[in-house]
């Protein structure tokens, strides 16, 4: 017998599985199909404007910074301003996300744009989030050519563009969006939920930002 059979046999014996097991199978099929929503905290259940405020406040609480622009065309100027304010070189890495292509880069002639996955040599990377979660100030990012996962983790500064209308109250609403994008039960290779810049408390419980991932996280909310 294979290891799989042995483990399964032990589990079934312990659970005392009997007969055709139709009842248990039915319960499992139903749960997987319906994916019942549990308790969703009130915190994020707010009208649009207040939900945006909550997102920004929660993001600030975890050490992220936020900026708001009125149009995608203004994103590049905000990126430039961010880099300048921190004395960073005028270079960014970004993926193929369509919404990022027409973000006003032509207005920032000095800014060097590198495309594709990060090779570890980038100081700043720009991604587009799939959604934001107001309850916790969290960003949801999909892997793929549009927003390579390496951009989320390798650059020292991670700049994330987020459409205000993609800010949801809670994680459960993001699951609903995800199913619209990918279909029920389907996932991108990686889904990253990012809440603030990387940190560690491993030495004497002192929290320090910038462990192995980005030292800083900047969210540009497009109205």
């Amino acid at each position: 017998m294979s290891s799989r059979d042995n483990v399964m046999r032990k589990i079934k014996a312990a659970i005392k599985v009997k007969g055709d097991d139709a009842e248990r199978r039915g319960a499992v099929a139903e749960r997987l199909q319906q994916a019942p929503v549990g308790i969703v905290p009130q915190r994020g259940q707010l009208p649009d404007a207040e939900r945006l405020e909550l997102f920004c406040a929660m993001a600030a609480q975890v050490g992220a910074t936020t900026a708001r622009v009125d149009d995608y065309r203004d994103v590049a100027a905000e990126v430039s301003a961010y880099l300048r304010a921190r004395n960073l070189p005028a270079e960014v890495r970004l993926g193929a996300d369509e919404r990022l292509q027409d973000a006003g880069w032509d207005t920032q002639k000095h800014l060097e744009i590198r495309h594709g996955a990060s090779d570890g040599g980038d100081l700043a990377g720009v991604s587009h989030a799939m959604a934001g979660i107001a309850e916790t100030g969290t960003l949801a990012l999909f892997s793929g050519p549009d927003n390579p996962t390496t951009i989320n983790f390798l650059p020292e500064h991670h700049i994330v563009v987020l459409k205000a209308s993609d800010i949801e109250g809670d994680l459960e609403s993001v699951w609903a969006l995800l199913r619209q994008h990918k279909g029920k039960g389907e996932m991108p290779r990686a889904l990253n939920l990012v809440t603030g810049p990387s940190r560690s408390g491993d030495i004497e419980q002192t929290i320090i930002l910038g462990a192995h991932g980005p030292r800083a996280l900047h969210v540009i909310v497009v109205a």
Binding site: S3, V7, M8, K10, I11, A14, I15, K16, R24, R25, A27, V28, R31, L32, A35, P36, V37, G38, I39, P41, R43, V62, G95, G116, G120, T136, T138, S143, G144, P145, P148, T149, T150, F153, E172, W175, G185, E186, M187, R189, A190, L191, N192, L193, V194, T195, G196, P197, S198, R199, S200, D202, I203, E204, Q205, I208, G210, A211, H212, G213
Partner: protein
């Protein structure tokens, strides 16, 4: 690591006089308890979420075989491979085979207790493959040749001066005069050193906080980002996870996530919660070429259907040890087992047998704080008591304790004799207690007082005090 749980008492005695360790342990209470309380207080639904998290896991465990089947189907459909391991040895062999097939010389590792449980690092190293721990705490203890003393803060037993010493000893390529006096400079140095290792590694190994049946995803919850670099930059990603990590759906995961980080570090969400599903896809510019999951049983299926089943709800947040007075006093290494603290005192006998581990369920004051803070509402003290009963039944308890319990039972079942004995003994013990009100040793109870003081009784028995109080009340009423 080698199981040394039977040396708990000696190890604890040493830990109590280790000044360096005692200083570091102060950070546990300081760093965890208040933060958890604040995060819990800030979420009105927290207690209801704990109930729901408990119910989700109970449902999952009652249908574990079916969810595992569905999970396996989804992983395979996404292009991943599922390997089943009955024992730690099976899991080590499977991981080594994957590494060998990938021609691996070094592997990076995200923080994972399960790979500690199966002693994976030693096995890889013995077979010529270098394992590199990338979590800051894990990296530090790997340099020291130690094991984690806490399941989420592996180096919590150390002070920064010790870490500085280790970095100077190992990072000899860096300038001697560099400043390493603060945690921030130590972290920067580790970041620098480890960056190169991610790119050089052939295989990245992580654990999993959850396995989701609905989607075939494995989930890791981290703060540093090392787990993500480990699993994104290696050519092969190997997930090692035990079978009880299963949850049915994304919605169920969201429920448990809300209690996990709050209970662990007092964060609403950890920085990175990553859902991985299969290997790199044709259009992907990054990600691993292969994705493997090693599903480990190693004794879990034998806990199902027993009085220890509730332990399989554990999500490894560490709240029980963060709130345990015994853990605070002696730290994690004294337990001599992979999993320390209250959750370890229940889990270790299940995995390794009570014969070698009987001291662990006895290393508790039964104060109940572990159960009070457990996000999954695991009745830890009750389960430790079950283990003490098993130990007693099998005659594993020390002879003096067994006779002592018998003698006490004889007296306790005879109320007149009991009252006479305590009313004679109480004033004597009270007098012996002196001004400190503590007894450092007692005849016939040396085994007990060797490890703690006995608080001296007040001088009256409960029944005497009660009678006086009642008489006083009647006097006042009159």
């Amino acid at each position: 690591m080698e199981l040394a749980a039977k040396h708990f008492k000696t190890a604890a005695a040493k830990a109590l006089v280790d000044a360096q360790l005692q200083k570091a342990l102060g950070n546990v209470e300081k760093g965890f308890i208040g933060k958890r309380q604040m995060a819990a207080d800030a979420l009105p639904e927290f207690e209801a979420l704990r109930d729901n998290a408990r119910d989700i896991k109970n449902h999952t465990l009652a249908h574990l075989d079916l969810y595992l089947e569905e999970y396996e189907r989804k992983v395979t459909a996404a292009g991943g491979h599922v390997h089943w391991a009955e024992t730690a040895e099976d899991a080590r062999r499977i991981v080594l085979d994957i590494c060998k097939k990938a021609g691996a010389r070094t592997v990076t590792k995200g923080k994972s207790m399960i790979t500690e449980e199966i002693a994976l690092n030693d096995h890889l190293a013995a077979n010529g493959i270098e394992p590199v721990e990338t979590d800051l705490g894990e990296y530090i203890i790997q340099l020291r040749g130690e094991h984690p003393s806490h399941i989420i803060a592996p180096a919590v037993h150390l002070n920064k001066e010790q870490v500085e010493g280790d970095f100077r000893r190992v990072h000899t390529h860096l300038p001697e005069g560099r400043d390493l006096s603060e945690p921030v400079t130590l972290l920067s140095e580790a970041r620098e050193v480890l960056r190169k290792r991610y790119f050089a590694a052939d295989v990245g190994i992580t654990g999993a906080n959850f396995l989701i049946a609905e989607t075939g995803s494995s989930v890791i919850v981290t703060n540093e980002g090392n787990g993500d670099l480990t699993q994104t930059l290696g050519k092969v990603h190997v997930v090692v996870a035990s079978i009880e990590k299963m949850v049915p759906t994304l919605e169920d995961t969201a429920q448990i996530l809300r209690v996990l980080a709050r209970s662990a570090t007092g964060q609403d969400m950890s920085v990175y919660t990553t859902f991985s599903t299969g290997p790199k896809r044709p259009e992907d510019p990054d990600g691993p070429d292969e994705y493997h999951v090693v599903l480990l049983d190693n004794g879990r299926s034998s806990m199902l259907g027993t009085e220890y089943q509730d332990m399989l709800r554990c999500i490894r947040c560490g709240a029980c040890m963060n709130h345990c007075p015994v853990y605070h006093a002696v730290g994690g290494h004294a337990y001599g087992s992979v999993y320390p603290g209250p959750m370890g005192a229940v889990l270790t006998p299940s995995l390794n047998g009570i014969e070698e581990t009987g001291q662990l369920p006895n290393a508790s004051t039964f104060c109940g704080r572990c159960e009070a803070v457990c996000p999954m509402r695991i009745p830890l003290p009750k389960m430790m008591r079950h283990w003490r009963e098993r130990e007693f039944e099998r005659n594993l308890t020390p002879a003096t304790a067994r006779y002592g319990i018998r003698a006490w039972a004889f007296v306790a079942k005879r109320p007149k004799l009991y009252r006479m004995a305590v009313s004679l003994g109480m004033p004597i013990l009270s007098k012996l207690g002196g001004s400190s009100r503590r007894l450092k040793s007692l005849p016939f109870a040396g085994g007990w007082t060797r490890h703690r003081d006995l608080p001296a009784p007040e001088g009256k028995t409960f029944l005497q005090a009660w009678a006086e109080q009642q008489a006083g009340k009647q006097g006042a009423a009159r």
